[in-house]
């Protein structure tokens, strides 16, 4: 893993592109599955779990792996592909998990919403809105109790801010000066409900109330998001207490599934277009090319495509779990 100081736009670009392409592969896979379904052909090796895509929101996820060390930990939500890959999670194990295979990062038990990579400090995701926020606070508590200089980051959406649990987490972290960086990805919607119809307060003000540095950045510039995150992570790591980062970015596809939802409720085509014009990956690619790094861009693209193709093959060729595996892992006996 890159040291925080030397991260380059290329690094961020590659990580963001990996996330984008991985999810596009899921989109393609679903399209293929739907085609087979229509043709009434059997679905072997299918993704059969609800997938919440983060296409358009990659900037924050890409920054995670560079602003944090592998010993730092994150926790995520139903929309966790990006966080998992961003933190350095194993791509093959993720794809295998989506396909429900024994080689999946959660042995096929969790699926898309419950990605885990303990070695890389991705300690799991909850499909209960705000459910994993206190877990990150507890991880930070463990660091403090042990005198470790690590940081814990709960990744949450704008919707999770409405759970009282989130404020309990702010208060407790501030009170104990815990090394937590709350990463709130505001994509303006919870399902189809706009944030303005659910909240009255700018999200960083919630953090500021508890005296923590709280910053809002737009997720359209990879480096800016990284720098903002990096700074808050250093703050938390130095023992000064928690911090909050809001990253605003638009979800291009529907809340769940792989189709767009443009036109539903308040989600207009204009809104989507405006955000697509600010695509952080396109911007990074342009910037790299402008800097004369066109060849690097091409090699990154090739590497990412190859990795994803390999991961898909791995996932499809892996065996599904044996039925008896259903009764395993309840009590972590198979701890690795």
């Amino acid at each position: 893993m890159q040291s925080a100081r030397t991260v380059s736009l290329t690094d961020l670009y590659e990580r963001a592109l990996l996330i984008r392409r991985a999810e596009e592969a899921v989109v393609d896979q679903y399209a293929e599955q739907n085609r087979l379904l229509v043709e009434k052909k059997p679905l072997t090796h299918a993704i059969k779990c609800p997938t919440h895509m983060s296409i358009g929101q990659e900037a924050a996820a890409a920054a995670i792996g560079f602003a944090l060390t592998p010993d730092d930990v994150i926790f995520s939500t139903h929309r966790c592909h990006g966080h998992y890959l961003g933190k350095g999670g194993n791509l093959r194990a993720m794809m295998a998990e989506l396909f429900g295979k024994e080689t999946g990062c959660s042995r096929g038990k969790g699926g898309s919403m419950h990605l885990v990579d303990g070695a890389m400090g991705m300690l799991g995701s909850s499909a209960i809105v705000a459910g994993s926020v206190p877990l990150a606070v507890g991880a930070a508590l463990s660091f403090q109790l042990r005198g470790l200089a690590n940081v814990a980051m709960p990744c949450l959406g704008d919707g999770a801010v409405e759970q009282g649990l989130f404020t309990e987490a702010l208060n407790f972290s501030a009170l104990r000066k815990l090394p937590v960086v709350f990463l709130v990805e505001n994509n303006f919607y919870a399902t189809l409900s706009h944030v303005e119809s659910r909240q009255t307060v700018p999200i960083p003000d919630r953090g500021r109330l508890f005296g923590m540095p709280s910053v809002c950045v737009e997720g359209s510039n990879l480096m800016k998001v990284y720098e903002a995150m990096q700074e808050l992570v250093q703050y938390a790591r130095s023992g000064r207490g928690p911090a909050l980062l809001e990253v605003q970015a638009y979800r291009w596809l529907s809340h769940v599934g792989t189709e767009p939802d443009t036109g539903r409720m308040r989600r207009t085509a204009d809104e989507l277009r405006a955000w697509q014009a600010k695509c952080p990956i396109d911007a990074a690619e342009r910037e790299l090319r402008d800097r004369g790094a066109g060849e690097i861009v091409e090699s990154v693209k090739a590497r990412v495509s190859r990795d994803i193709a390999e991961a898909l093959v791995f996932a499809k060729e892996s065996e599904p779990p044996m039925v008896r595996a259903m009764f395993e892992d309840l009590h972590a006996e198979s701890q690795r």
Binding site: C49, E162, V323
Partner: protein, 353 residues
């Protein structure tokens, strides 16, 4: 007048009729105004009554549950909707420590007529946190009514009954029942709370089931009949209070009992029914009561595991055969594990939920 309606449409119709009849009824919850309309159960209400009566809420389930209680204490009749009954766990303090106890703690001076709807998810790898059947947890608490309709008619009649009553009520609906269609009276009507429904009359063995397990039990009964085993299927409909009399009367007739529960076995509905019947009808029982419930693990995601996870008609039939001692070898092959297509869904799941 009566037409064929889906379970989802029956809920929608009941909701609209309640909103029409009673100005104190309103609907709230995360996404009730969404174009999806909680799987088609709230969008007509939203379209007709607007957001003065049908409104979205922040994702603050504990607050909205308490707010429903407070509004009810002031004379309203809220319907609070959760797209998954799993979210009830966030609100159990409000449900069980507050709604369930407010009337009692006030010596009957106050009443709290709230209705909370929560849906059981199943299938397409929704995994552990979005597919529980938490009826047993709620039904442990005196002061509540807990309903589990299994068919369109009851989905309408029980929702309307809950809205008429003065007891805080939790209705747990199964997502796989949503596509089931049957004749439903068009006019306003109520089904009695606390009364089970004999869904199929039989002589050899009683199957007490709830929610989607009624569908499985009826399917099993069809197959069993072809093989000379006559199953009586009782749809509990109300889980608290459940209809001990109807069940015991059936067991007195058949002498055998299977309880088919869509939830976990331990400390669950199947244990409750089994214990009470075994206590009351010890001498009527010709064999031990048999319980069918989920395996004692959370819901796994992988398709192979999920398919193996849920008990289906074949399981009911196998247990019935064991209980009745009939010779039905090689029968299992008639059945495949239920899938979404087989179970009341208009079209197969072709994507994420």
């Amino acid at each position: 007048m009566s037409r064929v309606l889906s379970f989802a449409d029956a809920i929608s119709e009941a909701t609209c009729q309640a909103l029409e009849r009673d100005a104190s009824v309103f609907v709230m919850g995360v996404g009730v105004d969404d174009s999806g309309g909680i799987f088609g159960t709230t969008n007509e209400a939203y379209a007709r009554f607007g957001d003065a009566r049908v409104f979205d809420t922040p994702i603050s389930e504990q607050l909205t549950t308490g707010a429903a209680i407070g509004a009810a204490l002031c004379g309203m009749r809220p319907i609070l909707v959760h797209a998954r009954n799993d979210f009830l766990l966030l609100t159990l303090d409000q449900i069980a420590n507050h709604a369930a106890k407010w009337s009692y703690m006030s010596g009957g001076r106050l009443k709290c007529p709230i209705v909370i709807r929560g849906i059981i998810g199943r299938g397409w790898g929704q995994a552990a946190q979005h597919s529980q059947s938490l009826h047993a947890v709620v039904a442990h608490f005196p002061g509540l009514h807990v309903l589990m309709p299994s068919c369109a008619r009851d989905a309408k009649g029980l929702l309307l009954a809950a809205l008429e009553g003065d007891t805080p009520t939790v209705i747990i609906e199964h997502r796989w029942s949503y596509g089931l269609r049957e004749e439903v009276p068009a006019e306003y009507f109520v089904e009695p709370i606390g009364k089970a429904r004999v869904a199929r009359v039989g002589a050899d063995c009683t199957v007490v089931a709830a929610s989607f397990m009624v569908t499985e039990a009826l399917r099993a009964a069809d197959q069993a009949a072809a093989l000379g085993i006559d199953l009586e299927v009782i749809d509990l409909r109300t889980i608290r209070p459940w209809d001990v009399e109807t069940v015991c009367a059936s067991v007195r007739k058949t002498g055998r009992l299977i309880v088919a529960d869509p939830g976990w076995g331990h400390f669950g509905l199947a244990s409750e029914v089994s214990a009470v019947v075994a206590e009351r009808e010890f001498s009527s029982l010709r064999a031990a009561v048999r319980r069918i419930a989920l395996p004692d693990v959370p819901t796994p995601c992988a398709p192979v595991l999920e398919a193996a996870y849920y008990p289906v008609a074949a399981d009911v039939l196998r247990v019935a055969r064991e209980l009745c001692g009939a010779e039905l070898a090689a029968l299992q092959s008639h059945f495949v594990a239920s899938d979404a297509t087989a179970n009341g869904h208009a079209k197969p799941f072709a994507g994420a939920f």
